[in-house]
C-alpha cells in the first residue's frame, strides 16, 4: 500500500512538469500582444511597454520564461498579475470560495444522486425509475446557465431566500443554491450511473448467493449491492472535482462569486500567462491527488482489489 502510494506520488512529477510545460507553451503561443492590449485603444508607449515586458519576462525566449516560472514555483513566487498583485494572493482569494462551492456541489450530487439512483435501480421500470429518468434527462438537456438564471430569479429575486450577489466570503447557507446549480448536471450522471450499476448488481451471482445464505435484505443491499455499485460512481466523482472547480465560471458569474473559474477566464482573455499557468497547475495537482484517493477507495469498495 505504502509502496503503491509512493510510486503514484513519484509519477505525479513528470505529469506535473509535462502539464505545466504544455500549458505554458499554449499561453505563450496565444496570438496577440498582452502588453499592447494593456494600453487599450491608446497608443502604445514603446518605452513603457519595454519596461513592462522586462518586468514580466516577456522579452525572454520561451524556455527561459518557463524555467523562471519553475524556479518561482519552488520559491513560492508565482509572479505578478498585470495589475501588480502577486498571483499567490489572487489564488489565496479565489480558491477557498471555489473549493467550498465545489464541496457543496459534490455533496449535493453524491448524496442525492446515489439515493435517488439506488431507489430507481431497485424498482427498475417502476414509476419512480421513469420519473427519475425523465428528471435527469431534463437536467442534462437544459444548459447550466438557464438553470442558474432561473434559480437566481426564483430564489433571489422572487422568494428572496438568498442574495443574488453571493460575494467572495459567503456562509455555507448562501452556497447551497449555487452548489445545487453547479452540481445539477453531475447529479443527473451520478443518478444514472448508480441506477444502472445497482440494477445490474441485483442480478449478479454474488448477490443471489448472499440472499441464498439467508442474509437480511438490508445487509445484502448495503454490503453486496451498493458497495459494488459505487465504483463507477466514485470514478466519475473523482474526475468531476477538477471539472467543477475550473468549470464553475458560469455559476460563479451568475451568483457573483469571484472564484477560480472567473479569474481564470479573465486571465486567459488577457493572456496573463503567470496567472493562467499557476491556476491550472494547482488544478492539475488537485486532480492528481483526488484521483489517487479514488484509486485507493477502489480497494475499500471492492475487496477483490488490493494494492501492493
Amino acid at each position: 500500500m505504502g509502496f503503491y502510494i509512493g510510486r503514484r506520488l513519484l509519477q505525479m512529477i513528470p505529469v506535473f512538469v509535462g502539464a505545466t510545460l504544455l500549458i505554458y507553451a499554449m499561453v505563450f503561443l496565444l496570438p496577440g500582444d498582452p502588453i499592447a492590449a494593456l494600453f487599450g485603444d491608446k497608443p502604445v508607449n514603446p518605452g513603457v511597454a519595454a519596461q513592462l515586458r522586462a518586468q514580466y519576462h516577456l522579452d525572454q525566449p520561451f524556455l527561459i520564461q518557463y524555467l523562471l516560472f519553475l524556479k518561482g514555483v519552488f520559491t513560492l513566487d508565482l509572479g505578478n498579475t498585470f495589475s501588480g498583485q502577486p498571483v499567490i494572493d489572487v489564488m489565496a482569494r479565489a480558491f477557498p470560495v471555489t473549493i467550498r462551492l465545489t464541496v457543496v456541489a459534490i455533496i449535493v450530487e453524491a448524496v442525492l444522486g446515489i439515493v435517488v439512483g439506488l431507489l430507481a435501480g431497485l424498482r427498475r421500470g417502476g414509476w419512480f425509475d421513469s420519473l427519475s429518468l425523465f428528471a435527469s434527462l431534463l437536467v442534462i438537456a437544459v444548459p447550466i446557465f438557464v438553470i442558474g438564471f432561473v434559480a437566481r430569479y426564483v430564489f433571489a429575486e422572487k422568494l428572496q431566500w438568498i442574495k443574488a450577489s453571493v460575494g467572495p466570503d459567503p456562509t455555507w447557507g448562501q452556497l447551497i443554491i449555487p452548489g445545487i446549480v453547479l452540481g445539477s448536471v453531475s447529479f443527473a450522471y451520478v443518478l444514472r450511473l448508480t441506477r444502472n450499476s445497482v440494477a445490474e448488481n441485483l442480478t449478479a451471482d454474488h448477490v443471489r448467493t448472499a440472499t441464498a445464505k439467508g442474509l437480511t435484505p438490508g445487509r445484502v443491499l448495503s454490503v453486496h449491492v451498493l458497495r459494488n455499485s459505487l465504483i463507477p460512481v466514485v470514478t466519475f466523482l473523482g474526475t468531476d472535482v477538477g471539472g467543477l472547480m475550473a468549470g464553475a465560471v458560469v455559476t460563479e458569474g451568475i451568483f457573483n462569486i469571484p472564484g477560480v473559474g472567473g479569474t481564470l477566464y479573465q486571465a486567459i482573455i488577457r493572456t496573463e500567462g503567470a496567472t493562467v499557468v499557476a491556476f491550472v497547475t494547482v488544478l492539475v495537482v488537485i486532480y492528481l491527488v483526488v484521483n489517487l484517493l479514488v484509486d485507493l477507495l477502489y480497494a475499500v469498495l471492492d475487496p477483490r482489489i488490493r494494492y501492493v
Binding site: G32, D41, G47, V48, S83, G84, G167, I269, R270
Partner: protein, 566 residues
C-alpha cells in the same frame, strides 16, 4: 470594468473595446458634479450612521452603494487607464479642475490657470488644501506626481498624457536622459508653471483627468503600498487601511478635509465589484444596489419600463466607427473617396441602433460626441451619414467606372466584445445596398485584433472606437486622424486637416477653437478615413433609495451629489 461577464458581452460604456473585463477605456474622467450647488449645508460625515435622519431632513447618512468592478491596476492615478479604477480615483482625488455633468471644467484645487499663448501656463492652487492624511497639497504635489508618471522606468500606463510638456522626450526614452521634465517649474508652495512644446489651447481642459491628480509625498517613497491604500485629497477617502477588498468591494467615507466644489451630500460610497451585470441588475431591482452605470444586454429592451424615471439613457462621450485603412486596395484616391462615401450612405444607422441596440446607441452626426462642448450636428458634409440607397449605388457605380471592385469588404472585430451583431447588421446593410460581398472578420480576442491593427497586417476595414479622456473636441480628432498620431491606425494624412488642428490648438478662445475643429471635420467627411457609426449611450439606472442621481459626461454617476433617502 472589470468584471467579467460570462457571455462575453462587453460593457457598453467605455470602450469600445476590449473584452469585458478588461476594457481599457481610456477615460473615466472626473466625477463631474452639479456640485457648485452642493455647497449648502448638507454634508455627510464619516461616522456610523445614527438612527435619526440628518440635518437636511429626509436624507440619510447611509453610504450610497454603487456598481463597480475590480480595478485592473494599482490605484495610482498615472497607472489607471480603465473605468473601474478610474471611478474610485475620481472619488478619492481632486485635480486642478473637475468636470460638471455637461463636461464644463470648474476649478477644484486650482485657484487659476492662466496663459496668454496657449503654450506657457501659470497654475496657482488654493492655499490650505490637504490630503486626507493631513499633509498639505502644494505645487510640488502636482509636479512630483507628473514627473513620476512621465518617467519611463516607472512604466506608467498613462504616461502619454504628459507628452505635450517640455522635457517629456528626455524622461520617456529608454534609458531616460533626465529624471524630471524641464517644462515643469515650482515657483512657490502654491504656484507652478508648465511649458508645453507647442500651443495646446485645451491643455487646461485635460487637467481634470486622473493622470493629472496630485500625489502626497508618502506615495513616492512607497508606491506599492500606496497603490493598495491610496491617500487622496478628494471628496471621499478609504474607510480604513485595507478598504479595497479585491474582487469584492471598496468602501469610501466622506473626507472632511475636502473643501472643493464636490463636497459629498451622502454618508459615503461603497463600490461593489460585480462579475456579471445581470446580477447587478437583480440587486438594483431588489434594492441592494443604488446605482448601476450600465444595464445588462438581457435588460436592454425592458430597463426603461422596469425602472421608469429611474432609468438613464443618454449619449456618452464614446464614438464608434470602423476605419478603412488608407492602403486598402480600391479605397485610395478619387476612387476610394467615392467608395467610402458609398459605403457610408449604404449603412442604415437608425435601424441598426434600434434593432440591435434597442436605441441604446445614438446614430452619429459627426466625429465627436454630443456631450462635448462645441459639438454640432450640422457640419457640412455629414449628409453621408444618412441612409440613401440610391446615392450609395450611384457613387459605387462611379467608382466602378474608374476601376472594378473585386473581393470581399470585411470589417474586423474582436468577438470577445459582443460586436458580432452590429458588424453582421452593418455588413448586411452594405451587402444589400451595394450588391457586393461584405462580411465580418472576427478575431478571438481584443489583443489579437489590436496587434494586427498595430502591425498593419490587417486586411480590410476594422472596428474602431474612441472614448474621450477629457471632454474636448480636439481629443476626438487629433489622436486619431492627425498625420502620424498614436492612434491613427488607418494611416490617414491630410495636410489641410493637420493645419486646422494646429490652428485650433493655438487658438486661446474656446469658441473660435471649436469652429476650427468643426471645419476640420468637414475635411474628414470628404475623405472618410473612418466611417462614423453611432455614439454609445450611458444606459443605466438607480434605485428607489436614492435621489439627485445624474450621470456625468463620462457616463459615470456623479456620486457626491447623490442623496440617500432616510
Amino acid at each position: 470594468m472589470s468584471s467579467f461577464q460570462t457571455d462575453g458581452k462587453p460593457l457598453r460604456i467605455g470602450r469600445v473595446g476590449g473584452p469585458v473585463l478588461s476594457r481599457r477605456d481610456g477615460l473615466r474622467g472626473a466625477l463631474g458634479a452639479a456640485a457648485l450647488l452642493a455647497l449648502s449645508a448638507c454634508g455627510g460625515n464619516d461616522e456610523e450612521p445614527s438612527g435619526g435622519a440628518s440635518s437636511s431632513g429626509g436624507t440619510s447618512t447611509e453610504p450610497v452603494t454603487a456598481w463597480g468592478g475590480e480595478p485592473q491596476n494599482p490605484l495610482v492615478p498615472t497607472n489607471t487607464n480603465e473605468t473601474s479604477g478610474g471611478k474610485i480615483l475620481d472619488a478619492i482625488f481632486a485635480g486642478l479642475v473637475f468636470y460638471q455633468a455637461d463636461g464644463k471644467p470648474v476649478n477644484d484645487v486650482a485657484e487659476s490657470i492662466d496663459s496668454t499663448d496657449a503654450q506657457n501656463y501659470t497654475i496657482k492652487i488654493k492655499a490650505g488644501q490637504t490630503f486626507s492624511d493631513g499633509t498639505p497639497v502644494t505645487a510640488s504635489s502636482f509636479v512630483d506626481a507628473w514627473n513620476y508618471g512621465a518617467l519611463v522606468t516607472n512604466a506608467q500606463l498613462s504616461s502619454y498624457f504628459f507628452e505635450p510638456i517640455q522635457g517629456y522626450a528626455e524622461v520617456n526614452t529608454e534609458p531616460p536622459t533626465a529624471q524630471t521634465m524641464s517644462g515643469l517649474k515650482v515657483v512657490d508652495d502654491t504656484t507652478f508653471t508648465v511649458a508645453l512644446t507647442q500651443p495646446e489651447s485645451d491643455f487646461p481642459l485635460r487637467l481634470g483627468y486622473s493622470a493629472f491628480y496630485p500625489l502626497p509625498a508618502s506615495a513616492l517613497t512607497d508606491i506599492k503600498a500606496f497603490g493598495e491604500n491610496p491617500v487622496g485629497n478628494g471628496p471621499y477617502k478609504l474607510a480604513q487601511t485595507g478598504a479595497w477588498k479585491h474582487n469584492e468591494r471598496i468602501d469610501l467615507v466622506v473626507n472632511d478635509t475636502y473643501t472643493g466644489g464636490r463636497k459629498a451630500k451622502n454618508g459615503g460610497l461603497n463600490i461593489i465589484f460585480y462579475a456579471s451585470l445581470d446580477t447587478a441588475y437583480s440587486d438594483l431591482q431588489s434594492g441592494n444596489l443604488d446605482t448601476l452605470d450600465q444595464v445588462p444586454d438581457s435588460a436592454l429592451a425592458t430597463f426603461e419600463s422596469d425602472l421608469g424615471d429611474r432609468a438613464v439613457n443618454q449619449p456618452a462621450a464614446v464614438f464608434q466607427s470602423f476605419t478603412i485603412p488608407q492602403g486598402l486596395a480600391n479605397f485610395q484616391g478619387d476612387e476610394g473617396k467615392l467608395r467610402r462615401q458609398a459605403i457610408s450612405y449604404a449603412i442604415d444607422r437608425p435601424s441598426i441602433c434600434k434593432a440591435v441596440f434597442q436605441d441604446t446607441r445614438t446614430p452619429a452626426k459627426d466625429f465627436t460626441s454630443p456631450v462635448i462642448a462645441g459639438y454640432s450636428e450640422s457640419i457640412p458634409g455629414n449628409e453621408v451619414l444618412a441612409f440613401d440607397a440610391a446615392k450609395a449605388k450611384a457613387l459605387w457605380a462611379q467608382a466602378e467606372a474608374i476601376a472594378p471592385y473585386t473581393g470581399t469588404f470585411t470589417i474586423g472585430y474582436n468577438s470577445d466584445g459582443g460586436h458580432q451583431t452590429w458588424v453582421d447588421a452593418t455588413t448586411a446593410s452594405i451587402r444589400q445596398t451595394l450588391g457586393i460581398q461584405a462580411e465580418g472578420a472576427p478575431y478571438a480576442t481584443f489583443a489579437q485584433l489590436r496587434s494586427d491593427v498595430t502591425d498593419r497586417t490587417i486586411k480590410g476595414a476594422f472596428r474602431t472606437g474612441w472614448q474621450a479622456d477629457y471632454p474636448g473636441l480636439y481629443n476626438f480628432l487629433a489622436p486619431i486622424y492627425a498625420t502620424g498620431a498614436g492612434s491613427n491606425d488607418g494611416d490617414y494624412s491630410n495636410p489641410a486637416f493637420d493645419a486646422l488642428l494646429k490652428q485650433a490648438a493655438a487658438e486661446t478662445d474656446a469658441e473660435a477653437s471649436q469652429k476650427l475643429l468643426q471645419q476640420a471635420q468637414e475635411i474628414l467627411f470628404q475623405d472618410l478615413p473612418a466611417i462614423p457609426l453611432w455614439y454609445s449611450n450611458a444606459s443605466g439606472g438607480y434605485g428607489e433609495g436614492v435621489a439627485d442621481v445624474k450621470f456625468g459626461w463620462n457616463s459615470v454617476p456623479i456620486y457626491d451629489a447623490i442623496t440617500k433617502q432616510a
